[in-house]
């Protein structure tokens, strides 16, 4: 019985790691959408959706266009 509990606990730990990895993949597009919303439109067209982040080029202009 004890070995069974140990076994199921180690199983749930491995499931936890697998799910954490899968959730990162599934949530990554939302992170990129958020980051992209701070990028100027030209950058998206010239570089596509990129992993590299240029913090200096980030702008609030897209939000200004929506709200003001």
């Amino acid at each position: 019985m004890r070995t069974k509990t140990k076994h199921s606990k180690s199983g749930s730990y491995s499931s936890f790691i697998i799910f954490t990895f899968i959730c990162i993949i599934f949530l990554a597009p939302f992170f990129f959408m958020l980051v992209t919303s701070f990028k100027p439109g030209q950058e998206m067209l010239s570089k596509g959706l990129t992993l590299k982040m240029n913090f200096d080029a980030m702008t609030l202009n897209n939000y200004k266009i929506i709200f003001f």
Binding site: S8, F16, F19, I22, F26, T36, G48, L49, T50
Partner: protein, 307 residues
Amino acid sequence: MGFNRVNTKVKIKKIYSVINSVKVVPYIFVLPFVITFLVFFLYPIISSLIMSFQNIEGFRDVTFIGWKNYRNLLNPHYYNALRVSFLYTFLTIAILIPFPLVLAALLNNKLLRGRNIFRSSLFMPALTSVIVAGMFFRFAFGTQSTALFNQMIGFFGLGPITWLQGRGTGMLALVILCVWRWTGVNIVYFLAGLQGIPQELYESADIDGANSLQKFFNITIPSLKPVIIFVITISVFGGFSMFAESFAYWTSRSPGDIGLTLVAYIYQTGFNNNNFGFASAIGITLLIIIMMVNVLQLNLFGFFKKD
């Protein structure tokens, strides 16, 4: 005057008694469904069937042309659309049944920490609009070497790929978008089914010394059969009726028709070429194909067999 009032009261009472009678009430309850079915389902189908035998140019210029629209279906564009739709449906079902099923079985484990967070995280993509998700993946599958998926394959030493211009890679992009959006939904269906399986079955399997895999294949999957059939049925329909994803990637025309599905072909012929008769003929064939595939798979799973 008084006599008339009494007469009207008697009439109203009579109408009420008829409406409230056991014979009439069931029909009244069913009436909203029947009306909805007739107006929103049967009428459009019959109307499309009639239109499929017509040449329609504008609203007034309508002529009956017999089977000509159906004969025109024998063209390379239609065959290509048929091939793309079949392949897309097959691939999405091949991934979107086993993958969410395994994830749901793991998520059903009460010992798993943070399982509610995992459930909501996996369901979140289903809440995004197809166009928003499609635009994201369109840029992620960009042709530039700096685009997300090209950077990712760059880690493995591979050069940039023009994802949305190749037949195989274009299909891969469509399937990835579909899997990302619908895995969470199918997990919800399977979780609902899993929670209906009696725990006694697993307990008795434990006593018999069954391991986790044996329990999964001999208890979980047979108990989930109705849910699996339901998910396959809606996936067949979803696969064949896919359009928005293709539109988000390539708008109405893709290079070499790589994203031309049957519904995209309907859109193209109907709204771009103004040929609504021919578009209706494609729609009718699509209806027949979906019905045939679903009847076939339901028959395969023994849905029509009497216990």
